[in-house]
Symmetry: D3
Subunit: 157 residues, 6 copies
Amino acid sequence: PALTHVRPDGAVLMVDVTDKPVTKRVAHARATLITRPDVIAMLMAGELPKGEALATARIAGIMGAKQTSSLIPLCHPLPLSGATIDFTASDDRVLIETMVKTTGVTGVEMEALTAASIAALTLYDMIKAVDKHASITGIEVVSKTGGKSGDWVRGDA
Amino acid sequence: PALTHVRPDGAVLMVDVTDKPVTKRVAHARATLITRPDVIAMLMAGELPKGEALATARIAGIMGAKQTSSLIPLCHPLPLSGATIDFTASDDRVLIETMVKTTGVTGVEMEALTAASIAALTLYDMIKAVDKHASITGIEVVSKTGGKSGDWVRGDA
Amino acid sequence: PALTHVRPDGAVLMVDVTDKPVTKRVAHARATLITRPDVIAMLMAGELPKGEALATARIAGIMGAKQTSSLIPLCHPLPLSGATIDFTASDDRVLIETMVKTTGVTGVEMEALTAASIAALTLYDMIKAVDKHASITGIEVVSKTGGKSGDWVRGDA
Amino acid sequence: PALTHVRPDGAVLMVDVTDKPVTKRVAHARATLITRPDVIAMLMAGELPKGEALATARIAGIMGAKQTSSLIPLCHPLPLSGATIDFTASDDRVLIETMVKTTGVTGVEMEALTAASIAALTLYDMIKAVDKHASITGIEVVSKTGGKSGDWVRGDA
Amino acid sequence: PALTHVRPDGAVLMVDVTDKPVTKRVAHARATLITRPDVIAMLMAGELPKGEALATARIAGIMGAKQTSSLIPLCHPLPLSGATIDFTASDDRVLIETMVKTTGVTGVEMEALTAASIAALTLYDMIKAVDKHASITGIEVVSKTGGKSGDWVRGDA
Amino acid sequence: PALTHVRPDGAVLMVDVTDKPVTKRVAHARATLITRPDVIAMLMAGELPKGEALATARIAGIMGAKQTSSLIPLCHPLPLSGATIDFTASDDRVLIETMVKTTGVTGVEMEALTAASIAALTLYDMIKAVDKHASITGIEVVSKTGGKSGDWVRGDA
């Protein structure tokens, strides 16, 4: 096998998907921001701060999903038909779970991963003054449906 | 302490940095793409494919660094004065190391982290057809210099 | 009733429109820039200045319509299939009327409103040196056709 | 007097500000979304929905401010050094007040107005399914400081 | 005949293509960067530099193609379904050939031309320190297929 | 000599300009659109069409200049302090002349060239329905001032 985005002569390209069928597609992805318990407490403290810190990351993630094809060079532009982002805080970390939908010729894994990454970076931006050691880990696709290759669920999901 | 980007009333804001001094600043960050050894072999096989797959991720990372303030809602726009991205492949993974410089009033950690994230997502995009289980991990700041808080190096760096 | 973009748990989302039918849709919107009669005279004086001041606002409005989904966080991206912007000057004001079309699953009210807003802001930008008191008012949808909710015309239109 | 952005031959231009001094500048602007009392109740109902609906508009406004020079054709790019957006709900309307700062050669009125407009459009987007008649009014500069023309406060502010 | 993007009253518009049929469309375009033989040698010297200098231009061209409708004011947004860029160096010049595909209601000539132009400008950017006299010439469409006007090949292609 | 944007190991980078002095810089560039005399007549026919066709290209060029660093991968972002675009029609062609200014650490040749290219492509877009054979040629820098390398004027300018 070979990389789909690289031609035999070594040049990259935006793969030709002109003849692929249009189907409904969904992808779920996730990322985890790791910090300290006291920082998690700050992120979650009070009704409004909680709403706005997480809301900021949520909005950034959704807007990031819509920018995927202008950020990832060989991605095809796709008309997203839905997107949600959920946060689950626990001890010293926040799990970010994204879901992106389209009706199109390619899958939306990259959009779901980009949403998770940008949401995680946005949370990082808000806590970096209190925790320089925070990190982001576990950016991965959880499941996908639609398209020729069919449904897929990560074994350890 | 409290989150710098959240006001006492809970609203987020773009923090006022009008009176901060302009200094030279550098930030190093990193990310790691984890896949399989045979996929690493494909990424690195042949002179040209290697050049273009990695070059694509490098370009995406540098361009992503320049888009940071339009991706991360509360980031200040900064005039980047330099950026490099390096890749080190080993067994089943690629380490992505970024360096970003500016002469400005805020640090460039977010730019370095965004560069690393977008470069990693771009590599992921090129291998996703051959490895659905790939993941991105270890997105973190390695060191920073410049600014009031002074130089900082990650303890485990 | 409740807001469509807010889930029961309070989180915002990009609403799932995957299963909505694709139909032809049109929206008309408007905005009004209020200034002084002598400023209107300047905007309209001479053939070329008139052409370029209004043309600049027209181009900005059309380009703004195409950026709607990257400006309004929860808007779905839509492939616009037509757009026009008209200006009517009278005494101390300019009426800006926009029309936007698409063939898609959601309406184009936001695109028509964004076009009107950006065109009005662009006119404001050109006159702000001579009239600090100018203001923009009456940004609203005038009519829409297409989609499940059917045709609609503002009562006072 | 004549329009600053239009040359004697009628062509528009990005005005030459190369020789203007760099000073600290602040601009306050506002906009008002007019809807119905029951819609205001929905926007404000519950802690979290309130947070996220308003937070979404706030984030959109701040991000919009940063995009001003790519939306308004003849605006100069400016490095924003701070931005806040406040909402005040009353009966059938929401007042949106914005503040933008920079250290630069031109004022930030357009950025403050763009922030107010995009925040208002984002609120409109969230309520349009329940109120087609909503409108946006009163987009105007409230005050500005810095620059050669000095401080200015709207008479009726 | 008259210009399609200009109404009888002289105003420009985004032409209404709502009722045009969706067909598969392809466009080929080209551009030529003219410099000196020793500069061509630098661009092509060594495996990796060659890969990355050309790869950088290739990525820029593909990403530029995806930005066409936000760069060219009256262009309709189109979902690109494929794009390739090829370089042929000879003596004192590099020929840049682009191919863009879509399934849509308008042609992709502008996307293919934009890809060629941005790729050429990117090469220029990399050589400008060693050749101030470099220039870009011969930006033109080579052929197109699909759409009502049918297939077309430049006579001198 | 070697290419400034390519490291000894072959990787491209955004060159470090942190220590370059900030100076006032100007660049003039040009491009030529070649078509047929009857098409030039259409572009120039009537006061308003002339205004809006050329104005559209002028606006696109100015806005393109501001997007240069997000289009050309290794370009540094620069705060443009002025930009003009002029058109001279003659027989079968339109000469596009651009001028861009900044106060910054790098030159603005790329911005002036990008403005000329995007303006030319925008004119092309408006005439492509009546002249498929149109082409763009002679994209080149005419002169530059400011910076360490000093003033420079193209010999044949």
